[in-house]
Amino acid sequence: MDRARLMLLVVALAGAAALPWIGGPFWTGLATQMMIFGLLALSVDLLLGHAGLFSLTHASFFAVSAYTVAILQVRYGWPTLAAAPAGILLGTALAALFGISVRTRGVYFILITIALGYVVWGIAHRWSSFTGGDNGVTNVPFPAVGPLAVTSHTQYYYVVLAAVILCGLGYRVLIRSPFGLGLRGVKASETRMQSLGYRTGLHIYVAFVLSGALASFAGVLYVYYNKFVNPVAASFPVSVEAALMAIVGGTGTIVGPFLGAGVVLGLRNWVSSFVEMHHAIMGAVFIATVLWAPQGLVGIAARVRARLKGRDG
């Protein structure tokens, strides 16, 4: 890592730590959401940016884990220390089941994951005796571990910040490991990886389950922030917006999905303060991204930097 990048990282961290004092509750809340949805986008990007698979079912893992935590804490009085792992476990188990979709590639994979996502949404929506139907599960408390309890959104912001930093570091190790390089190999040429002796199907399946686990973790962070969960969390727009965040920020990177989440959430917040049609605005962002910025913000930054370097040299 060169010095400029290190400086940037230090400034970003200091800024993140000081945000609640500088920005107040509004910006702290927005930043918390940005980190949570950035994590979801990062999980989508493990498949999209590294293995070249476009999954549109990640809201399912996110929602199943959020529902699990909410139901266990609110209805059965489980402590955070038991409910949160149970949520991640159940979300990951669903990912292990939905992982059979990696038998397909390309368009079929996209279409099948959309259909699977709808199954989960349908259950959350229709099985109202258990999931609470459209109202969902409400009154989820802040997390508490023994005597340590989060009591405000500002405190929770720091919990999420710490969790996201840890996940980012773990993700960095993962994608630089032989496993991560293998994924990139599959993206570049699956047949060549097979002829080199890799079991590419298994490789991608494991990536799918890991990515589901990360989405489940984001779901846990989400339900403690949001205080309730309803079928919207499992809906198709959440899955497709997570993918959009990864693409807007830049796929195949770690900061990209978080930047993208910031742009998408910030834009939506800003736009919905003066127009009702925020879905149409989101739609326009989808279209504009595909047509003019398929490499995302990170891609644009790299292009600008390359041009500047070209001018210097």
Binding site: R103, A115, G122, R126
Partner: protein, 286 residues
């Protein structure tokens, strides 16, 4: 027993509607390699336009034609100026067309509001038919089955027995070769794309008269159509027919026997298919 028969008719009439939507989706993929996620939005907006036409003119036939034509026209521009620019990048196509669907859905919400609206069916199509065994059943649903079968036969004849169909089939197999023989593949694309959009709009009017139209209906119907296409195999007309029947019947019996898990019943055929035939019943390599 009576319920079982009723559910079978429910299933087949839903299948007829799904076929209208899925056949266009599957043909435009087969020929142009285009995945158009806005198909559900085409259905919804077609239904809304048909609704307004039916309310102003009182004619259901005009509503069907008008809803279809309006979507065919809009679909042409979307295809020309947006989808065409994505080339064969399916990821880009999916994102772009989802964006288009969001825009269409929001515009429709502004114009027609958020309530459940029903396209008024003409008087002579209302009421019930008495089936042998004294079963009463809504007449409209039978008409829908006839419409589905009629469109199915017409498409099949067009596809298998006419020269245009032969060219389209050749285009599905090897586009470059067809182009090289001097046939204007581009014009063919426009025709198939317009036909697909027309069918989606028509389905919206037909479906709007019994499933009602509301914000969000575009995604629900799209997912059903996607399952049809996945089960049948992308690009196959026969696949769309069989897939529509399977999904329609499963949905009807699922809603009847397991109301809370009816979406889950859809998961069964997809899962089995992925294990045994990842490309669907009639799908092939693309």
């Amino acid at each position: 027993m009576t319920s079982a028969i009723l559910q079978a008719i429910n299933g087949v009439s839903l299948a007829a509607l799904l076929f209208l939507l899925a056949s266009g989706f599957t043909l435009s993929f087969g020929l142009m390699r285009v995945v158009n996620m806005a198909h559900g939005a085409y259905y919804l907006i077609g239904g809304y336009v048909g609704l307004s036409i039916a309310e102003h003119t009182g004619s259901f036939a005009l509503a069907l034609a008008g809803g279809g034509a309006a979507v065919a026209l809009g679909g042409f521009f979307i295809d020309r100026f947006l989808i065409r620019r994505t080339g064969e990048n399916h990821l880009a196509q999916v994102l772009l067309t989802v964006g288009v669907a969001f825009v269409i859905g929001d515009v429709a919400l502004q114009i027609w509001g958020g309530d459940n609206l029903m396209v008024p069916a003409p008087q002579q199509l209302k009421g019930a038919v008495v089936l042998p065994g004294g079963i009463y059943y809504p007449k409209y649903r039978f008409i829908l089955i006839f419409l589905g079968v009629f469109v199915g036969i017409a498409l099949w004849l067009l596809y298998k027995k006419t020269q245009i169909g032969a060219v389209v089939r050749a285009g599905v197999d090897d586009r470059e070769q067809v182009n090289a023989t001097g046939i204007n593949v581009d014009r063919l694309f426009v025709m198939v794309s317009a036909l697909a959009s027309f069918l989606a709009g028509l389905a919206g009017v037909a479906g709007g008269a019994f499933l009602t139209l509301y914000p969000g209906a575009e995604w629900e119907i799209l997912v059903y159509a996607l399952v049809v296409v996945i089960v049948g195999g992308l690009g196959s007309l026969e696949g769309a027919m069989i897939g529509a029947l399977i999904v329609g019947l499963l949905d009807a019996y699922g809603r009847w026997l397991l109301p809370e898990f009816s979406y889950f019943v859809l998961f069964g055929p997809i899962a089995l298919l992925m294990i045994f035939r990842p490309r669907g019943l009639f799908g092939r390599e693309h």
